[in-house]
């Protein structure tokens, strides 16, 4: 109870402080301050350039106005060779001490944002400006945050008094005014998926879903979602998710409501020993494509038209091609792509480990579609 009073006191002090420092009301319910970001697992943007930071360590999502809002029509391609070494030097350390956690392109300014984590866990947010890498300050910015609910209370500790809860945010996206978050738990083997309205509200009306897939209609199973995108198929909106056991599964967006147990339709399997890393939806002419980066496979490309005509839902195994089944897809001549985001409809920014060992950030041309 004491703690409660303490929190209330802090909250009140915060309100008083905010009341004195922020006179004008910011859009989206944002207020000026310094978000306490403890880790950056995932980045995504809203169509109007609000940056969302997924922080599994503090179990929160932060929405930040980066003020990087200069509209760029034709985006310049990003090209930084040995990007990990350049970042390591800028941070004053060696390349083995940093990990690039995610990249995301601001759809307004078309600038690429990079989330980096130091080996001691310190998160760093960077932005590519031309051929330079600049820090993005999160001090005194306009922001709001939302604690992910259903997280266990802080007293879920072991006998040594340490929290043993193991969790991560596996992917984050934005569609139709909602932040979509998929989570991984190191404990239960299931899938948590949240759909959170933005601007964040006081009441937690986020939908937390348990969604599972049926392989070949025979075995039904829960599994964690590793990465996802959203797409329109035959005029209906879908969540297209890839699981850690690598099936590609479709869920109608209108069924993703709190309390629903949603069963997805498996449309393809992506082979063994593989972990899907990133999915984006691209467009060229009248065709739209799903492009997916993988841990131990080349980049896959699937035409949404093929998914439309594919009615099988893997009820019977389809003819095997490279130990995969379902909708036909094309392997692009690009391997070891670790991160992927769309620069515009036809071009992608890729973080790729080249065959010579270099880690390069580069932009694909539309001939890949």
């Amino acid at each position: 109870m004491k703690k409660m009073y303490f929190l209330l006191a802090i909250g009140f002090a915060g309100i008083v402080l905010l009341a004195t420092t922020t006179r004008t009301k910011k859009p989206y319910g944002l207020t000026v301050g310094t978000p306490e970001i403890k880790s950056i697992n995932a980045l995504t943007f809203s169509p109007n350039g609000i940056l969302f930071v997924g922080d599994a360590k503090s179990g929160s999502i932060f929405a930040i106005d980066t003020k990087d809002a200069e509209v760029t029509g034709q985006a310049a391609p990003v090209e930084i060779k040995n990007v990990d070494q350049k970042i390591a030097a800028l941070l004053g350390t060696e390349v083995q001490n940093i990990t690039i956690q995610d990249i995301a392109v601001n759809p307004v300014s078309k600038k690429t944002y990079i989330a980096v984590q130091h080996s001691d866990g310190t998160p760093v947010l960077l932005r590519v400006e031309g051929d330079k890498i600049m820090p993005v300050s999160t001090k005194n910015v306009e922001f709001s945050s939302l604690a992910l609910n259903n997280l266990p209370s802080a007293d879920a500790k072991d006998r040594r008094g340490e929290s043993i809860r193991v969790s991560a945010i596996s992917d984050m996206g934005f569609a139709d005014g909602r932040v979509l978050v998929s989570g991984l738990s190191g404990q239960e083997f299931n899938s948590t998926f949240r759909s959170i309205p933005f601007p964040f509200t006081d009441k937690q009306d986020q939908a937390s879903l348990e969604i599972y897939h049926a392989a070949h209609g025979k075995y039904e199973t829960l599994s964690p979602i590793k990465t996802f995108t959203t797409a329109e198929i035959k005029g209906k909106k879908y969540l297209v998710a890839s699981y850690t056991c690598t099936p590609l599964v479709l869920f109608p967006m209108d069924e993703l409501k709190a309390g629903n147990h949603v069963k997805g339709r498996t449309v393809a399997e992506m082979g063994s020993g593989n972990s899907p890393l990133d999915i984006v939806t691209m467009k060229k002419g009248d065709d739209s494509f799903l492009v997916m980066a993988n841990s131990s496979r080349p980049v896959f490309k699937v035409k949404y038209k093929n998914i439309e005509v594919y009615q099988g839902a893997l009820t019977t195994p389809v003819e095997e091609s490279f130990a995969t089944a379902g909708v036909q897809f094309v392997s692009l001549p690009v391997t070891n792509v670790i991160q992927l985001d769309k620069l515009d409809d036809t071009r992608m920014v890729m973080l790729q480990r080249r065959s010579n060992g270099n880690l390069d950030l580069w932009t694909s041309s539309d001939r890949y579609l």
Partner: protein, 364 residues
């Protein structure tokens, strides 16, 4: 306070030194070098505003090095520089003013006596089902992330390394302190009828001796390596496709004359990490009893000791349905369910309950 004293002393000491290699003092927080102080007398002739443009801290390496990203502040006759991430142990740095090298400093390696240890591996039994899903590694200190594939291996019959047995998952699944890691055996191979399962079979074979080996080259967050390598041997037993069944658990309540633990025996090993969270004892008033849970040998038992003495009466053991066995079967549903077999029921309860009585001790 200690660091402040050190800092003041360092500053004083620095002032008394007059030349080259003096001056820069390192700020430490939680054993991390989070910043440096550069005495202002070294850069006396510059205005405070221009300092951050003129002064740079760089890595001491051959070739042109960029200025390290960070913040400069002015404080008590010194300029404080805090990099975006702490300075790295074992590396040398330089302070430059325009194109002139002012000073150099080195961040010492961590004390070897602070080396991390692998405290435990769960599940702890030496017989494990061949559809084992998870392995937990428990360390004494926060470890470096994203590296488990390099340092953890599974040997078959003491000789062959089994390739691709663990799912290469990024980000890895660590607890907030980075002291406990979850490793998954490739779930696509464990799930029946998925292509990886049909082509390659389950990651572990039946009735085979395996050794889980954790290399001592694994560094912690400070760069210090594990004190020694770790090996856990186990043999595989047939697959477990059944949900744990709390109605078959044995509950042994103590007498109501103290706070002796109530013992619960599951009849099979269950998931260590979930056991620590999913069991609760509820009193007659519907409230959860404060107390301490201890997980017993081989995760086959759990023991609850109340903070206060038991009172005679009826109690409820509440078990959250998300509790799993070693093969990912939870209380509601098995890991994968054969839809053609209608005999396996699926429930959607959020918890299951068993009740037990605590009685007055019988008087002799």
């Amino acid at each position: 306070m200690q660091s402040l004293i050190f800092f003041v002393f360092a500053g004083f000491f620095a002032c008394r030194q007059s030349t080259e290699t003096t001056g820069v003092s390192i700020h430490w927080r939680d054993q991390r070098a989070t910043g440096i102080s550069i005495p202002q007398n070294r850069i006396a002739s510059f205005s405070p505003d221009s300092i951050s443009q003129l002064l740079t801290v760089r890595l001491a390496k051959t070739g042109a090095q960029p200025a390290i990203l960070g913040e400069y502040q002015l404080a008590d006759n010194a300029i404080i520089f805090e990099p975006l991430i702490p300075f790295t142990r074992g590396l040398r740095y330089e302070v430059w003013l325009r194109n002139q090298r002012l000073d150099g400093f080195e961040i010492p390696l961590a004390d070897p006596k602070d080396a991390p240890e692998l405290l435990a591996v769960y599940p702890s039994p030496d017989s494990l089902p061949d559809n084992l899903l998870k392995i937990y590694l428990r360390f004494s200190r926060p470890m470096r992330e994203g590296q488990s594939q390099k340092y953890v291996a599974l040997l078959k019959n003491r000789t062959d390394t089994v390739p691709g047995v663990f799912l290469d998952l990024q980000p890895e699944l660590w607890n907030p302190d980075r002291t406990m890691l979850t490793l998954w055996l490739d779930p696509g191979r464990i799930k029946r009828d998925l292509q990886p399962n049909k082509r390659l079979g389950v990651p572990l074979q039946k009735s085979v001796h395996y050794q889980l080996v954790v290399s001592n080259s694994w560094p912690d967050q400070q760069g210090t390596k594990l004190t020694k390598a770790f090996t856990k041997s186990f043999v595989t037993i047939p697959r477990d496709s059944l949900s744990p069944d709390p109605s078959r658990w044995q509950i042994t309540p103590p007498a109501a004359d103290g706070n002796q633990p109530v013992d619960i025996a599951f009849g099979e090993p269950l998931d260590y990490s979930l056991l620590t969270e999913t069991l609760h004892i509820i009193g007659e008033d519907g409230k959860s009893l404060p107390g301490e849970w201890r997980i017993g040998d081989e995760e086959k038992t759990a023991h609850f000791k109340p903070a206060q003495n038991w009172k005679p009466g009826r109690y409820t053991l509440r078990i959250e349905a998300r509790l799993e066995d070693l093969a990912g079967n939870n209380l509601n549903r098995p890991f994968d369910r054969d839809l053609t077999q209608k005999t396996v029921p699926v429930t959607s309860a959020s918890f299951f309950e068993r009740s037990f009585r605590i009685d007055q001790p019988s008087r002799q």
